[in-house]
Amino acid sequence: MSDLTALLARAGLSTPEQREHWTMKWISTVDHKRIGMLYLATALGFFVIGGIEALLIRLQLAVPNNHLLQPDTYNMVFTMHGTTMIFLVAMPALFGLANYIVPLQIGARDMAFPRLNAFSFWLVPFGGLLLHFSFLAGGAPAVGWFAYAPLSETPYSSQLGVDYWALALLVLGIGSVGTSINLIATVLTQRAAHMTLRRLPLFSWMIFVNSFLVILALPVLNAGLVMLLIDRLLGAHFFLPPGGGSAIMWQHIFWAFGHPEVYIVAIPAFGILSEVIPVFARKPIFGYEFVAGSTVAIAFLSLLVWAHHMFTVGLGHTVDLFFVASSMLIAIPTGVKVLAWSATMVGGRIRLDTPMLFCVAAVVQFLLAGLTGVSLAVAALDWQTKNSYYLVAHFHFVFVGLIVFAILGALHYWFPKMSGRMLSERLGKWTFWLMTIGFNLTFVIQHFLGLAGMPRRIYTYADLPGWGWMNLVSTVGAFLMAAASLLFVWNLVTSLLSGERAGDNPWKAWTLEWATTSPPPHENFQRLPPIRSRRPLWDDANPGRPDPMVGAKWKAETFAPEKNKTAVIAFIISETAFFAVLILAYLFYNATPQAGPGAQDLNLAKTGLFSLCLFASSFTLWRSEVSLNRGRQRAMRAWLAATILLGGVFLIGQGLEYGTLFRNGASVNVNLFATSFFTLTGFHGLHVCVGLIALLIVLGLTLAAGFKRRPSPALKAVALYWHFVDGVWLVVFSTIYLLPHLR
């Protein structure tokens, strides 16, 4: 106890006043609303950094033959600009909004796992610091946001920049997966009574669907980053053709993540548009079912079509053909959405307040982004415009034209709820017009620049006809956008201090977040209105003509699963994606025989025996659960101890196998067999260790107190994870040890 007091005293937290100080309140918070605002503030901070980088790029390109930035510096600046804007601005801003709004919209008190929530958030600023620390450690990464191998490999980027880049993205990726698992568990298990899944507001629905995309796509990037780090730090050759590796493998892995990533930031933006447009058109959304359903189709298709980023790689006409066709399909569900938003506005009494202005502009600009997107899906056109400013213009129309505009709309829309004060409408309109004019000046012209042949990522250019003035226009536009951003921040600050009081529901909106005070109390709701349709506040305000009731047809709608189990299943889904990449990589790298150590050096019999121990541990753990359910605490503990013992024996077996390999000279950088073998089994071993730690904690808990609840959610969750780890080993063992004997 005295240790704790001393510790608190040293941290300056010995008195209640110190502990209640506002800095502590924010740093130690686990409240979803504060965490949401912390996310948004972090995103804003990085937006300033990424914005300054963008201005540097535009200044450098403002006139031909400019030498404001050195070529190396220019490469660093555009790499950091892209990485920052995607991983440290767009994703945290959308996670922040999701964090703040989703629990309110579903009538929950908080997220399912408040501490996990705080953990996931704090990974963002620290990941960002790690990335930016590279400036001090010999230079930021200068390889572009997709860090194509072999440029990103040690022989070509010997500075530490890429290492920091990969480590930071790993940290951020883990945080994103954590948040998304939390959001899935929140939507599934924390909904208010009567808030069935079919009554979910569209923003919450889209965040829910999107979270599945995050937990499937981010682990793919994480696996790739791990492989890149093994290459760089341990001297392996995953992506280095001179050592037998494949640079194209990196592109596949990166785009298998990278394409869904576009939708990971776009789908929440769609959600924002689907909330704001109906409120300001004073009509319910047109075709709720179609907007909700097309989201699932978009998420599904986005996982399927990554190879359209690789038309110029030379995968062959056959491959290109299939991906042209499937990429174009995405235009259908996105088109459905644009039609639904437009139809919502038709015949509505439209109020053009700032949030609506941003959202309408987002729809229009997204339409143009979609049209250039369809054109880029045509491989023949893609060949001509790849890596030109046409592409730059296209994806900035998606990322800025749609996503940033939607986020700005959302901030103007939900700021009154978060702060209790209105933003200045006059400043808001100035922000909007400056932003819209600036954005279109910057990027519309870049389509033409690209068609005129200007490649992206060049630090300067000759004075070719038309290039000079077009670039200058683009630069002027960028500065208008910067002015708009400054105005927005000014609006935020002044309105926070002296804005008009907002009241509970300033926009007369219909979803549950407006049914509580602004800002909401710590517990979110004093009382909830009855929920019988998708617009509970409309029903409440218009008892004479309520929305048609949305019935509860399916058991799955009202079904609220246990939250630990839900979260572990979501975690298992994401881990499956991670291991799938490593297993596929193993298969790919070992498809052809290679010099040096190989599968013939492995000891099938011995490892088979140790594998049996691992498989047996799944059985003992199952018995342990059964014992608990029957109320036999001692038997439960004994089975649990046996599980831990068997897991430990398996690890010893792995150690022996490693020892033999090392003695035979098979270290991780010898050849691709050794690299892929140690990567795959090493990560599996790491998961076994994590499982063992979790089991030891459970054992410790039962020895201390025993489980009161039967069946125990904690034991159930840990058991699910352990069975998963065993299942992975079944696949890994078959792939590594059995497959070579089948040939």
Binding site: Y288, V296, F300, L304, G316, M549, W554, A556, F588
Partner: protein, 258 residues
């Protein structure tokens, strides 16, 4: 043999397809009579016969891996689905023991049929041995039926609820896509017989390789891509149907208040 000649003569008239097809038709009419859902059955039967008798079959029989893949997908994913849709809505397909009705069994049947028959040894055996080939065809139809039963069972209460069905279809799709990706990019030949046909029964090899430009590598790539992309679109269509089912109103106000 030229392409035109082949399209004319490449039909497989012999074999068991026609008699078995006729028998199934008679069985269906005897069991359920001629009703509205017969159209689905006619579609299934027609598609199965075209797949098993048309030049696709001749190509799949030792010439083109991609043609085999097309057959495989139609027989596993389209024909059984249409047959299930053709059954009267009152028919119970409950399986005994109940374990067989578990979604995991259906899932493994659907996904397993894909992986199992593409193990190199089995893929070759199915071409070189008639009985194995027949076994493959029948097993695809049966396993496809077991897979789709979870989604398309005639009785509503024997189907998965839409969220579970979406998860079921999505995970099956991803698992099959992975195999498609492996086949597309694998430097190893999956079915060596297609790469080097031991006999050129129809004197067609030259037309295929030179006239159509179908090298063994491209052939395998198309096969893998068929499994990766169009097959996923079948699952996607099923997922969209589940979304439609999910959002369709129940219509009976009695069940609405919860």
């Amino acid at each position: 043999m030229t392409t035109g000649h082949f399209l004319f003569t490449g039909w497989t008239w012999g074999g068991a397809s026609l008699p078995v097809g006729a028998g199934t038709l008679a069985w269906y009419l005897a069991m359920f009579g001629l009703h509205r859902r017969f159209a689905y059955f006619a579609g299934a039967l027609g598609l199965a016969l075209v797949t098993l008798m048309s030049p696709i079959n001749a190509l799949a029989d030792g010439y083109l891996f991609s043609a085999h893949m097309l057959q495989h997908i139609i027989l596993l994913l389209i024909v059984p689905a249409l047959v299930l849709l053709s059954l009267p809505r009152s028919l119970s397909l409950a399986l005994r023991p109940r374990l067989f009705g578990h979604p995991l069994v259906g899932w493994i049947a659907g996904v397993g049929a894909m992986w199992f028959w593409h193990a190199p040894a089995l893929c070759n055996a199915a071409i070189s041995s008639r009985p194995v080939h027949a076994l493959q065809t029948v097993s695809l139809l049966v396993l496809g039926g077991v897979f789709w039963r979870q989604i398309l069972a005639p009785r509503e209460n024997e189907r998965l609820s839409p969220p579970h069905a979406i998860l079921y279809l999505f995970s099956a799709c991803v698992t099959c896509s992975i195999l498609g990706i492996i086949i597309t990019f694998s430097p190893v030949t999956v079915c060596s017989i297609y790469a080097m046909p031991p006999v050129d029964r129809l004197d067609l090899l030259h037309t295929i390789r030179v006239g159509w430009g179908m090298t063994p590598e491209r052939d395998q790539q198309i096969g893998g891509l068929l499994m990766w992309v169009p097959m996923c679109l079948i699952y996607l269509s099923a997922i969209l149907a589940q979304i439609a089912r999910w959002f369709a109103e129940s219509g009976s106000p009695a069940t609405e208040e919860i």
